[in-house]
Symmetry: C2
Subunit: 323 residues, 2 copies
């Protein structure tokens, strides 16, 4: 974990459900001052309990020098809460009308140079920034549950967002030990949730068609591909599976399988242009490492991961009942 150098910058977290509490915990653990705001009855108590529960994990990960839960305050009034923040992170319910209204109000009361970020998992930033007077500083910054542990944050700018806002936002999220992934083109669901949603929908089809139970679907992930996905995405995985020639060989070998009805999802046509994108991208992703070196690295990782994960896999009475 990074030691912060930004000396008590203040961020405001609007909406203190599970995602809001995740952000609060992560910012606190990295030495920030945090103001939380939420209109719901009992919100402060629930929020503080949530932070307390997550705090031991942050300690284990390593706290920033001046990190403290004493840097957390709660403010009922949202207008006041956002007044001195350098970044405001919005986490209200996932409804366009509510989010647009809240973001417009934040925009009216936040300092002019503050970044306003929405945690929305699905709505596009161009939609969300429409009612703001200073839409150029409004972005989507979509985190993953549990926010205090998972490092991914998708940053998406809308039509009105400036590049300097995106650059500043990246810097802040790096300061809280995250991996900011800037998505160039807005789409509903951004990128990560589209991938997960494809898998999720296929899983529902499999259960619906009586092919496997939910426990079996889960087992089909965690004992196989899931072990690889902690370290390697689908493209790099196929790059390795292609042997010395990597993705180039793989597309020749398994390209035709894209025509097979192996999922309910129709694949795009494998044009020369798409092939080149995929091959080049995989080679860039591999960096200086040959497939053999990547293979070795993955194996070392898997051996250590297996030792770790075996302690945490489901007990035999659940999946694989008769073991």
């Amino acid at each position: 974990m990074m030691t912060n150098t930004q000396k008590h910058k203040t961020v405001t977290i609007v909406g203190t459900g599970v995602i809001g509490v995740g952000w609060i915990t992560r910012f606190l653990a990295n030495g920030f001052d945090v103001i939380a705001t939420d209109m719901a009855e009992g919100a402060e108590e629930r929020m503080r309990a949530g932070v307390e529960q997550a705090w031991p994990y942050m300690k284990e990960r390593g706290l920033a020098d001046e990190a403290s839960t004493n840097r957390l305050s709660f403010e009922n009034n949202m207008q006041k809460a956002v007044k001195h923040a350098s970044l405001i992170q919005e986490n209200v319910p996932e409804r366009e009308d509510i989010k647009r209204e809240v973001l417009a109000e934040i925009d009216r009361h936040a300092p002019e140079d503050a970044i306003i970020a929405s945690s929305t998992s699905g709505i596009m930033p161009s939609t969300l920034q429409q009612d703001c007077n200073n839409p150029e500083r409004v972005i989507v910054a979509h985190p993953f549950h549990p926010v205090y542990l998972l490092p991914l944050v998708e940053i998406v700018g809308g039509e009105e967002t400036t590049q300097s806002t995106i650059d500043k936002a990246k810097t802040v999220y790096k300061q809280i030990d995250m991996k900011p992934l800037v998505i160039e083109k807005e789409i509903e669901g951004h990128v990560a949730d589209r991938l997960m949603e494809a898998l999720w929908r296929e899983a529902l089809h499999i259960v619906n068609d009586g092919i496997a139970t939910t426990e079996e679907v889960d087992a089909a992930i965690i004992y196989g591909a899931g072990l690889r996905w902690a370290q390697m995405g689908p493209f790099m995985t196929f790059h390795l599976a292609g042997g010395e020639q990597g993705m180039r060989h793989m597309l020749k070998q398994f390209g035709p399988a894209l025509e097979l009805p192996w999922t309910k999802l129709k694949a795009p046509e494998l044009t020369d242009e798409l092939k080149e994108k995929v091959i080049e991208g995989s080679e860039i992703g591999a960096g200086d490492l040959s497939v053999a070196e990547l293979d070795k690295q993955r194996n070392e990782f898997l051996v250590r991961l297996l030792d770790l994960v075996e302690e945490y896999w489901p007990k035999p009475q659940t999946i694989m009942k008769d073991e």
Copy 2:
């Protein structure tokens, strides 16, 4: 890793490409005698080199008492190679005509009580067993690369396969430290590859539509959901995201999102029957653990996983170039 008690049972591996070598290594490491057969020129040398390369990882995982690469022999003649095997694992190229022919020949020469298993990733066992005289002992046993490290094996019986064959096969794969997952209903691609294929097709659409590069797609997996998937499948993940009410709450909250165009894959209709299947299944999957307890377990795992995986993530010059 298990200590084997079966005293030098002999298995035969037909086809010694990457998957074949994976099987050979796993069986050897668990104390089996292995006969390998492959007609390709130079197959034995490549195969032995592959086993040597994988062996250090098996040592690190822990070898069975009498495990040794000296228990490996190579036999050019397939008919001889299968003659005394208790299980024959077929790994020839993924083409129906080739596999059917090879399996029929194995069937003619193997002992009558031997199990004949195909590693096919896509073809259904009812199709593969058609030309065999004793189709009742023919199954699909689909492993995942690298076979010597990933424990998942999907076992699928065809129309002619007997339950006792499936039971015997499960026992053997458990003896080599695998997690056999019996799939009740045959479909092309079985279960795990259908899930992966849905994600893979969506990833190709994302790259094809210029939303993100291949490196960014990979990053969107490994820094987020990928970290969870090593320990928890999609259903259990949503069960936890639903708070105390688990999946029941989750389907109420995010069911409507299935209508959104968040992927190119159309979701099944969320009927009452499907809802009940998914809710009940998630509750069975949770076993005796409450959502709060599962949450705690996942967090402990993630903290330890993060420490481990950070060493193995791509170097900054590849993904997230400017770090």
